[in-house]
Symmetry: C2
Subunit: 201 residues, 2 copies
Amino acid sequence: MPQSPIGPELQRLIDLLAKMPGLGPRSAKRAALYLLKKREPVMRPLAFALDDAAQKVKACSICGNWDSIDPCAICADPERSGAVICVVQDVGDLWALERAGAHKGRYHVLGGLLSPLDGIGPEELNIGGLIARAGDDAVKEVILALAATVDGQTTAHYLTERLEETGVTVTRLSQGVPVGGELDYLDEGTIAAAMKTRRPA
Amino acid sequence: MPQSPIGPELQRLIDLLAKMPGLGPRSAKRAALYLLKKREPVMRPLAFALDDAAQKVKACSICGNWDSIDPCAICADPERSGAVICVVQDVGDLWALERAGAHKGRYHVLGGLLSPLDGIGPEELNIGGLIARAGDDAVKEVILALAATVDGQTTAHYLTERLEETGVTVTRLSQGVPVGGELDYLDEGTIAAAMKTRRPA
């Protein structure tokens, strides 16, 4: 085994970069080389931005969204309806819904899904806060925008039961054929769901 | 256009992450979310490692390799032959050759390839240092390990001419069928090159 040609400082940087999703050991090396070539325009600003965000970005005390202000910009926005709360697994899902421009109300970020196999129970998630919020008379509807997976279904089922006591209307995203999707390439489960919930043309 | 749900500190981090090779705008968001969840084990250490490497990692004054010591570990290694210098485009290529364990001599990193179209002439590359090193009597061979592209060939041709005056032997990597490569999937140029330089079986 030949000695590594990469010094310890550089190796530590590569090892940390390789932990990021989307970067493997080889692309982390490429990223490190790129950064060393762009020290002033990218590398040092990135070091600062990481430190800055690690310090300032916090979970919103109301909904769990990440922002540098608390309550977050969405919870603080008077133009958004407080009557509808959309429940998501993660902040990334909140961003996806915002990209789609599909929701004009508030959010609630669970921080994960129930997963008995992984030891994630209701206490591990931001569920108490949701029940408390849904108990407010101003809240009329809770939309469960969770993944169409076993864990997502389990979590939706659990939340539906827990939310019953609050008297709020609980809805879920509909399942069906994705926009632009061809039937030939769809799995049987999706086709069956789309068939079952078919609507007048 | 709805207002972005992402605060300025987080957006700046995402924008910088998205500049890295291998990460696009969407995977940069995923990386930012991952980092925020791993503040102590990954995010802050990464900020430190970036700053540390930006400060300490420098180009070796002899060969152009990146290391935190100068001369670099390879130039300083008494077990490596100073008689053979392998010329590479970039530090990433040096790492690839070291991974292969294919070269026991020293290196010389050009920092790019000649590219008249991009305005990259001999002055932009670390060529003067190579000619000076090759002029040393101890140096017997210079291996041109450059890409098999137009710019790579142009650079190899130019270096071969420039090195003529030093009396050193100049060689190139051979071209041919990659190990594990199937002929059916190879381009015509590679097949023609492998045929032309065929050897007794």
